[in-house]
């Protein structure tokens, strides 16, 4: 199976969403791919999305590194290929008013 490297975002786009969770700049954290051993800062990951979620992958082999999904009221964070995701409560935001849920103006 061949794969296109195209259409991914810069890993630094994770800075905003992850800054809501981490006290230190998450894009400077290093990660070593468990499959191909490529070492990369989070800011160097290939990120796909932004919808339905931000999917950060190894720049060497596309192995899953992390996922960040932001929904009204919650941020979901999955690290590595593990099956469990962490759900963080988000503070109320004017951009997620109840009307956003129903599509009403």
């Amino acid at each position: 199976m061949n794969q296109h490297p195209a259409h991914h975002l810069d890993g630094n786009c994770l800075a905003g969403p992850l800054a809501q969770v981490f006290a230190l700049d998450p894009t400077t954290a290093w990660w070593t791919c468990p499959d191909c051993r490529t070492a990369s800062p989070v800011g160097g990951l290939h990120v796909y999305g932004p919808e339905p979620g931000l999917t950060g992958r190894c720049p060497g082999c596309a192995q899953l590194a992390l996922r960040v999904v932001t929904h009204p009221g919650h941020l979901w964070l999955q690290l590595g290929t593990g099956r469990g995701a962490f759900r963080f409560p988000l503070p109320p935001s004017p951009s997620w008013s109840p009307s956003d849920r129903t599509g009403e103006p």
Partner: protein, 201 residues
């Protein structure tokens, strides 16, 4: 192509407004959402495998799949990112035909794709003439961006359930949340009940 002018009535007697689920907007384009690199699977190396919960399995090559009875569903599709597209035209094989390849009494099924993507469904939702394995869109072979050479088409659920680059179905006795269902999206995903997120009713 559907017209969005007032008074236009699509299939049956339902107006386009009535065919738009809550919180959705209509689009004429076909947005591409991705969670990874686009796999390119040549049809001579493509196969589709259905596996029962007791380990029995049945596989089809591309040519064998194309030799099965073909259907041409025309359906509305609804993405959880809020776009809907009316009267999309596809060609493919009913999942009833493929699911009949194995003995199963399982309650659930996991669709598995060449890129590692998974999505989970009740078995009842891939049978009954409302789900397909499709290889053509609008009269042309399905492009890799849209899941070609073949993807699932399950239009009564949000479109993340219609797995792109699908390589098989695996029947399971337990419900196994898939790629997006493990990270905050709804387990079932009915657009008419607006089941977008994990805790939606």
């Amino acid at each position: 192509m559907a017209s969005l002018s007032p008074g236009f009535h699509g299939r049956g007697s339902r107006s386009l407004v009535e065919r738009l689920p809550p919180g959705q907007y209509p689009t004429e384009s076909f947005p591409v959402l991705s969670a990874g690199p686009t796999p390119h699977v040549p049809t001579d190396r493509w196969s589709f495998t259905v596996t029962g919960e007791n380990g029995g399995s049945r596989s089809w090559t591309w040519d064998e799949m194309r030799a099965l009875p073909q259907e041409q569903p025309v359906v509305d599709i609804h993405c959880v990112t809020r776009w809907s597209k009316f009267d999309t035209r596809w060609e493919g094989v009913s999942l009833d035909v493929l699911a009949a390849g194995v003995e199963t009494s399982a309650g659930f099924v996991v669709a598995e794709s060449f890129d590692g993507y998974t999505t989970n469904l009740p078995r009842a939702d891939v049978t009954g003439g409302r789900a397909w394995l499709v290889h053509s869109f609008d009269g042309y072979p399905l492009s890799p961006d849209h899941g070609g050479p073949a993807r699932l088409l399950i239009p009564h659920l949000y479109f993340w359930k219609s797995a792109k680059w699908v390589k098989g179905l695996r029947f399971t006795t337990e419900d196994e949340p898939g790629f997006w269902e493990r990270a905050g999206y709804h387990d079932y995903g009915d657009p008419w009940r607006e089941q977008r997120y994990w805790n939606d009713a």
